[in-house]
C-alpha cells in the first residue's frame, strides 16, 4: 500500500432496516494518519455508519475497503484478523465490569500475543500511562469517573497498537472540561502514534479542536451533505443545513417538528 492510498474507502453504502432506508449511496475515503470525523444531528446514521465500516453490521448494498481489502469478500476468520488491526472506543466505554482496568487493557494482549505476563503487565502500565491513568490498574470500571472510563477504553482499544482507532461519541456524557481533556488526549495520541482516528460526534468543540476532515450526514438526505475541513465549511458553506449545524441554529420547521 502506498502512502496516498486511503486506509478506508466506502463506496455506494446503503443501509436499510426493514423498509426504512437509513443511509443511501454513501461514499468517502479516509487517509492514513488523519483525524476523520463523522458529524451530524441525532438519528442521522453516524453510529450506524461506523458499525458498518468496522463490520459489526452488514450493509444492504455497497463496498467497504480497509487497507485495500474489500471486507465483503472476507470470511469470519479473515474479518476477525482484520479487526485485530482496528481499535474501537464505544459510547459507553464497554469496559468489562468484572475485570480491573489493568485486566481490561491486558485482555487483547493475553488473547492475541504469546508475550509473558511480565511484558504484558509492562505494556499495560505503559498504555495506562499514555492515557494518564497510571496507577489505576487495580481499579474496577465502577470505581472510575466517566472521563476515566473513556480513557481506559482508549487504552484497551490501543492495546495492540492498531493502525486505526474508531471512537463513537467519545465526549458523550462528559462535562466540557473533561471533554476538552479527552480531545487533547486524542490529538496527542494521533500525533504521537500516527494512528488514523475515525470519530463519530456531534460535539462542535471536538469537531473544531481535533478534526482534520469531516463528513456531515443528514437524516433527510440519508447521506453526506458536506465534506472537508470543518473550519472552511463553517466559513464558506452556503448549505443552510451545514451552517445551522455549525452555528447551533434551530430552524422554525425543526422547532415545530
Amino acid at each position: 500500500m502506498n502512502s496516498t492510498e486511503p486506509v478506508i474507502k466506502v463506496e455506494g453504502l446503503t443501509v436499510r432496516y426493514g423498509s426504512d432506508t437509513v443511509l443511501q449511496d454513501v461514499g468517502f475515503e479516509v487517509q492514513p494518519g488523519e483525524i476523520f470525523v463523522i458529524v451530524g444531528g441525532s438519528g442521522c446514521g453516524k453510529s450506524t455508519l461506523l458499525k458498518h465500516v468496522i463490520g459489526i453490521e452488514t450493509p444492504a448494498k455497497g463496498s467497504i475497503w480497509i487497507n485495500g481489502t474489500d471486507t465483503s469478500a472476507l470470511d469470519d476468520v479473515e474479518l476477525r484478523t482484520l479487526r485485530m488491526g482496528i481499535g474501537m472506543l464505544f459510547q459507553s466505554s464497554a469496559l468489562f465490569g468484572s475485570m480491573t482496568i489493568g485486566e481490561n487493557v491486558a485482555l487483547p494482549l493475553t488473547e492475541f500475543t504469546d508475550l509473558p505476563m511480565k511484558d504484558i503487565e509492562s505494556i499495560t502500565r505503559m498504555k495506562l500511562g499514555m492515557v494518564e491513568l497510571a496507577g489505576y490498574d487495580n481499579h474496577y470500571p465502577s470505581e472510575l469517573s466517566g472521563g476515566m472510563k473513556k480513557r481506559a477504553g482508549i487504552a484497551r482499544a490501543m492495546a495492540l497498537d492498531p493502525a486505526m482507532l474508531f471512537l463513537d461519541e467519545p465526549s458523550a456524557g462528559l462535562d466540557p472540561v473533561t471533554s476538552a481533556e479527552l480531545d487533547v488526549l486524542i490529538k496527542k495520541l494521533n500525533e504521537g502514534t500516527g494512528t488514523t482516528m475515525i470519530i463519530v460526534t456531534h460535539e462542535l468543540e471536538t469537531i473544531f479542536n481535533i478534526s482534520h476532515r469531516i463528513i456531515m450526514l443528514d437524516r433527510n438526505a440519508k447521506g453526506i451533505i458536506a465534506e472537508g475541513d470543518p473550519r472552511i465549511l463553517r466559513r464558506d458553506s452556503d448549505d443552510p443545513r451545514v451552517t445551522d449545524f455549525f452555528n447551533r441554529r434551530v430552524t422554525e420547521k425543526k422547532t415545530k417538528g
Binding site: 465490569g97 511484558d119 505494556i123 490498574d137 487495580n138 497498537d161 500516527g194
Partner: protein
C-alpha cells in the same frame, strides 16, 4: 525497500557497543527484543551503548517501550546511552511513554486472597445479611400486598395478565412434557417391582399419590423457578443497573408495588393451575405404561387413581404450590432489586434467584411434610 526485521551488535574495543536495529519494531517483535537487553549488557559489558535506528521502518508503542527499557537499564548500570536515526514520527511515539507510569505503584492494592477461615466468616456474615434482607423484603412485600388488596384499582392488572401468560401459558408445554415423562418413568420403574407381586394396579395409586401430594408441586415449582424466577430477577436487575428503578422512585412510584406486585399476583394465580396440569400429565404418562405395559384398561387405571387420591391430597398439594409461588416470585424480585453494578451483577442475581428458590422449595416442602403429618 523495507529492511528485514533484524539486529546486530557491533562491539568496538573501547567498550563502545552499537546495537543496529532494522525492520519493524512492533508488538510482534517485542518478546524477542526484550530478550536482547540482558544479552547486550551481560555479554558485552559496555561503557557506552549506541542504538542505531536508521534502518527501523516502523515503530509502535511496544517498540518504543523496548527503547525506554534499554535506556533505563543503561542508566541503572551507569552506561552512556545514545540514540540515533530517530525521525519525527519515532520521536512522537517515544514522547508518549510516561516513564513514571511504568513503575508507579497501583493506587488500589491488589485484592488479597482470603484463607479458609476468612472465607467462612465472610460467607457467614453474607448469609445472615441475606436472611435479614429477605425478611425485610418479605415484610415490605406483605405491606404492599395488603395495600393492593385494599386498593384493587391500583393494581396493574394489565401487567398481571401479561405475567400470567409468561408464567402459566408459556410454561405449560415444558411443565406438561416433564411431568408426562416423570409419570411414565415412575410407572415403568415401579411396575417392574409391583409386577412380581401381582400388584400392577397399584402403579396407578403410586403415580397419583406421589404426583398430587409431592412431585407435582415440587417439579412445577422448580421449573417455574428456573423459567420465571430467573426472568423476574433479570428483568428487575437490569432495570436496577440501568437506573430505571431509581427513576420510578424519583417519580414517586413505589418500585415494589409497580414491579413486584404484578409478578407475585400472577405467580400466585398460575402456579397452582400449572401444578394441577402437572399432575394430570403425569397421570397420563402412568396411564400409557399401565395400558400398554401392564394390560390395565383405561377405566381401571383412572378408577384406581381416583380411589388413591383424596381431596386432602389435592388441597395440600395446591396449598404447597401456592406458597412455592409466593417464595419463587418474591425471591426473584428481591434478588433483582439487590443487583448492583453491571451485566455481571444481573447474572449473579439470576443465578442466586434460582438457587435460593430451589433451596426454599425444599425447605417449604419439608415444613409442609411435618405439619401435614400432624393434621
Amino acid at each position: 525497500m523495507p529492511h528485514e526485521n533484524s539486529y546486530h551488535i557491533e562491539a568496538a574495543g573501547s567498550g563502545v557497543v552499537t546495537l543496529v536495529l532494522t525492520g519493524r519494531m512492533d508488538l510482534e517483535r517485542f518478546g524477542d527484543l526484550t530478550g536482547l537487553i540482558g544479552a547486550i549488557f551481560d555479554a558485552h559489558s559496555p561503557s557506552k551503548l549506541n542504538v542505531d535506528m536508521n534502518g527501523v521502518s516502523y515503530l509502535d508503542s511496544a517498540g518504543a517501550l523496548f527503547i525506554v527499557r534499554l535506556e533505563d537499564e543503561a542508566r541503572r548500570r551507569s552506561v552512556v546511552f545514545a540514540l540515533s536515526g530517530l525521525s519525527r514520527e519515532k520521536m512522537g511515539i517515544l514522547s508518549l511513554i510516561d516513564r513514571d507510569a511504568l513503575t508507579k505503584p497501583s493506587l488500589a492494592p491488589r485484592e488479597r486472597r482470603m484463607n479458609v477461615i476468612e472465607h467462612l466468616g465472610v460467607a457467614s456474615i453474607a448469609a445472615v445479611r441475606d436472611i435479614y434482607d429477605i425478611m425485610s423484603f418479605t415484610g415490605e412485600l406483605m405491606c404492599e400486598i395488603g395495600y393492593s388488596l385494599t386498593h384493587l384499582q391500583k393494581v396493574r392488572w394489565g401487567d398481571v395478565v401479561s405475567y400470567m401468560k409468561k408464567v402459566g401459558v408459556d410454561g405449560l408445554p415444558i411443565v406438561g412434557l416433564i411431568s408426562f415423562l416423570l409419570g411414565l418413568i415412575m410407572a415403568f420403574m415401579s411396575s417392574l417391582q409391583l409386577k412380581q407381586f401381582g400388584a400392577n394396579i397399584y402403579v396407578a395409586s403410586l403415580v397419583a399419590v406421589a404426583m398430587v401430594r409431592e412431585l407435582g408441586p415440587i417439579m412445577t415449582a422448580i421449573i417455574v423457578a428456573g423459567r420465571s424466577g430467573s426472568a423476574f430477577a433479570a428483568e428487575i436487575g437490569t432495570m436496577k443497573v440501568n437506573e430505571e428503578v431509581d427513576a420510578l422512585t424519583t417519580m414517586g412510584f413505589s418500585p415494589m408495588r409497580f414491579l413486584s406486585i404484578p409478578k407475585v399476583i400472577a405467580s400466585l394465580l398460575t402456579v397452582p393451575v400449572l401444578t394441577i396440569f402437572s399432575s394430570i400429565f403425569a397421570i397420563m404418562g402412568g396411564l400409557i405404561v399401565g395400558v400398554l405395559g401392564l394390560n390395565l384398561t383405561i377405566f381401571t387405571y383412572i378408577q384406581q387413581t381416583m380411589k388413591a387420591i383424596s381431596v386432602f391430597d389435592i388441597v395440600s398439594g395446591l396449598a404447597k404450590s401456592f406458597v412455592f409461588a409466593a417464595a419463587i416470585s418474591a425471591i426473584g424480585c428481591q434478588r433483582g432489586f439487590k443487583a448492583r453494578g453491571g451485566a455481571a451483577a444481573v447474572g449473579n442475581a439470576t443465578t442466586s434467584a434460582v438457587v435460593t428458590s430451589i433451596f426454599l422449595i425444599i425447605v417449604i416442602d419439608s415444613t409442609f411434610a411435618i405439619i401435614l403429618h400432624y393434621v
